[in-house]
Subunit: 173 residues, 2 copies
């Protein structure tokens, strides 16, 4: 039986920081550089963060994380993949996230999507997430995906990857 792999969406499949940078520039003309966000939470790096999250279209147009498509397609053959996203905090994001996944990861089916508010309700063997609190409550192998908000955390309870190439090496080689 295949191992079950739980993959987070924002900050793992979706390049949320990049989308904040694009949106901030477009809406307020302020250019925030990626390097300036290192070590900062989303709400610290982007003052209009919540406003953006509540704006229709934000989630529908997020750039895909580099190399995520190719690597996840291959992971989907080896593992039983579920994409789990904390989506119910922003109800308008639900449809957008669905159609974003359908467009960018067409090899996944609707049976593999989970939109919830609290990741601790899911069960699996391996979890990839950028938030340590999600990994902490998971019973299984845990992989921290590096993002600006977690890059300074000195974290030893979870494996860490910098990008999808690292994930490929870790889980597919």
């Amino acid at each position: 039986m295949k191992e079950r792999l739980i993959v987070d969406m924002d900050g793992v499949l979706a390049d949320t920081y990049q989308q904040y940078i694009i949106t901030e520039l477009k809406e307020s003309g302020v250019e925030i550089k990626y390097d300036e966000t290192l070590g900062l939470l989303e709400e610290e790096a982007f003052p209009n963060c919540i406003k953006h999250l509540e704006t229709r279209g934000f989630f529908r147009t997020i750039p895909v994380m580099k190399n995520a498509q190719d690597t996840l397609r291959r992971l989907n053959e080896k593992f039983e993949v579920f994409v789990v996203s904390a989506a119910t905090e922003f109800p308008f994001s639900l449809e957008e996230k669905y159609f974003w996944l359908e467009e960018n990861f067409p090899f996944l089916t609707w049976e593999q999507f989970v939109f919830c508010g609290d990741n601790k309700v899911v069960k699996g063997d391996i979890m990839i997430d950028d938030f340590i609190q999600n990994l902490d409550s998971f019973q299984g192998r845990t992989i921290l995906f590096s993002q600006p908000h977690n890059c300074n955390l000195n974290e030893h309870l979870h494996e860490r990857v910098e990008n999808w190439k690292d994930l490929e090496n870790l889980l597919l080689s």
Copy 2:
């Protein structure tokens, strides 16, 4: 620590058969009696079933199952409740289900909603569902909620309740 209670939506919190009957009468003028649906799957009892499920508004206006509100409010104090619904098959249902829950079960929060395609990904102690296949793959106590499509099944692996009063007696007394 509270036990985790997984509660299904369609056919448990939401009176889906009743909604089919209302919709069928409104759209085609055909009156289908509840008693005529006993022992039949949704698609056998309601020829236009899939068309209804794909129509905007169907999920947003489903009648609430009798006594579900009061009993779930009390269950929510005793248990860690998650409402889990197979929603991703019909992407337009996602928002509708969210706002339906918010309106009819205002004591629940968005953290307690799970919209997925396959219930086997959730973990808990007790599951209430009207579909035996969902209960079969659950590791924990399983309660079958009687609905027309399961009423003739001679099922002994799961406890059976006929309605929310039965659930109250079973889990709250």
